[in-house]
């Protein structure tokens, strides 16, 4: 596949890895946060860590829309299905996120909720058209990448007068989350989380452009490299970050120029501001209430806002006490710091949200990387079969 395969070349990767090793000062360590789950996933799935020198450490950030979705929001969607009889449409990602009462959307479905997995917001509209006598709610999650398709669905529903369709909007904003992390006491004051730089979002940046990150580089003196989600993009971004650190620079650099421009996708941005406005505050799992970090549906599209339509009241729900998702999402802890990682909390029975999406820090480590926690005993055929 063009523009994909070229960016997964293992030979090139090893060579960039060697370059990183060569340029990283052996007497210091480098900690970079990849904000996006997309990068986390690429790092785990392709085994990028093994190509990095030991003094370059990656911290998983909160950039997974499933991981930051608070329990109370899933509860709202479940109640719409179980108590209000609505057809709740949602992306496959949210189906297994643990909610209150040991439920999740998939378990609520098993309890009779009419919950349907869709591939796109347009599919939810099609379901609404096919079931005119039922309320159909699209449970919309995602960062800036996923927001424009939702905005389009709402605008089209309004044009078409699709009276039984509404959206439970949980769209959140990347820059506010990064600010929040940089403002967190651990990062800003205590220095417990030494973040030397950020790998900036790939697909979010296609929509919002690279300009919004300039602020961090200037205000917080942290280098940012926007990078694609292919493993070579990640390697290259790490190299670029190492160089900025070595040179004492703190700029926004763009490794993903093939898709990201400074201003982003203006058409999509215009549609998003037509339909959505900022929420004064929104709860993120792990980060708590984050001001101006999410979107809500504008008054002019109120008829399509499930929160208004069903008069929903958001009730925050505390995470499981043992769960360290919050600290992990802020980069303060690693998955293996959680006492229940891999024992009580596994992808089959996730306790925290980081164990749900394969982009979640805990799931990525469990699924792809947990052999690293264990002494490796590999006897290969070559060793055993040849004397």
């Amino acid at each position: 596949m063009k523009y994909i395969d070229e960016f997964r070349d293992g030979d090139l990767a090893r060579q960039i890895g060697a370059r990183i090793a060569a340029e990283a000062h052996p007497d210091r360590s480098y900690s970079f946060m990849e904000f996006c789950g997309g990068h986390t996933h690429a790092i785990s799935r392709y085994g990028v860590l093994e190509l990095l020198p030991p003094n370059v450490r990656m911290i998983h950030g909160p950039g997974c829309p499933v991981c930051v979705l608070p329990i109370g929001r899933i509860d709202l969607a479940i109640r719409l299905a179980l108590e209000r009889g609505a057809i709740v449409c949602t992306y496959g990602d949210t189906m297994r996120v643990p909610a209150s009462d040991s439920l999740s959307l998939i378990k609520a479905k098993a309890r009779g909720g009419d919950i349907r997995m869709v591939y796109s917001a347009a599919d939810a509209m099609a379901i609404a058209r096919a079931n005119p006598q039922r309320e159909v709610v699209f449970f919309a999650i995602g960062f800036e990448t996923t927001t424009p398709p939702t905005a389009l669905a709402i605008r089209d529903a309004a044009r078409e007068g699709l009276a039984n369709f509404s959206v439970l909007c949980c769209h959140v904003l990347t820059p506010s989350a990064i600010t929040h992390i940089l403002e967190s006491p651990e990062v800003r004051q205590l220095g417990t989380v030494p973040i030397d730089g950020f790998i900036g979002p790939a697909h979010v940046s296609i929509v919002i452009g690279s300009a919004p990150y300039d602020h961090f580089a200037e205000e917080y003196r942290k280098p940012v490299v926007i990078a694609g989600f292919e493993p070579l993009d990640v390697m290259q971004a790490i190299l670029m970050l190492v160089r900025q650190v070595n040179e004492g620079r703190a700029h926004v650099e763009n490794e993903f120029t093939r898709a990201v421009t400074p201003e982003g996708n203006l058409k999509a941005q215009a549609l998003v501001s037509e339909v959505f406005e900022l929420r004064p505050s929104f709860e993120w799992r792990g980060l708590g209430e984050v001001p101006y970090s999410a979107l809500k549906i504008r008054e002019s599209f109120a008829a399509f806002d499930a929160e208004r339509r069903f008069d929903l009241n958001y009730t925050p729900v505390a995470d499981n006490k043992a769960c360290e998702c919050g600290a992990i999402l802020r980069g303060v802890k690693k998955p293996t710091d959680c006492k229940i990682f891999g024992t009580v909390c596994t992808p089959e029975n996730p306790v925290g949200s980081c164990m749900v999406s394969s982009e979640g820090a805990c799931a990525a480590h469990y699924t792809y990387g947990r052999f690293r926690d264990i002494p490796i005993v590999v006897t290969t055929a070559t060793e055993e079969a040849t004397p």
Binding site: M1, K2, Y3, I4, E6, D9, D11, L12, R14, Q15, I16, G17, A18, R19, A22, C36, G37, G38, G47, E50, L51, G63, Y91, Y119, S120, A121, A122, D123, G142, F143, T145, T146, P148, P149, L152, P201, A202, H203, V204, I206, V207, F229, L232, D233, Q236, L239, E255, T257, R258, A259, V260, N265, L266, K267, A268, L271, E359, V378, T380, T382
Partner: protein, 82 residues
């Protein structure tokens, strides 16, 4: 986050729809969110919508940069026993 993939736009259809080809599979997507895309463009597809377009020259430039990097590096040993 945000699974998205570059795919070749092969056909424009009414109502802001288009067909992309990705490695031999064809799928109808929406192009309502992008301005001025053409057959032959590689659009970036997310949840059934094109959200951006690949700039081929920039892609070349990035690949050239990787190659350059590779020149600088010593040849490393594979990590995994073969």
């Amino acid at each position: 986050m945000c699974l998205a993939i570059p795919a070749l736009l092969v056909e424009l259809r009414p109502n802001d729809q288009a067909v992309v080809n990705l490695g031999g599979i064809r799928k109808e997507i929406s192009i309502a969110l992008v301005a001025d895309v053409q057959v032959g463009d590689y659009v970036i597809v997310h949840v059934g919508h094109a959200i951006g377009v690949i700039d081929p020259e920039e892609a070349e430039r990035t690949l050239a940069l990787f190659a350059e990097m590779a020149q600088l590096a010593p040849n490393p040993a594979p990590v995994v026993p073969a």
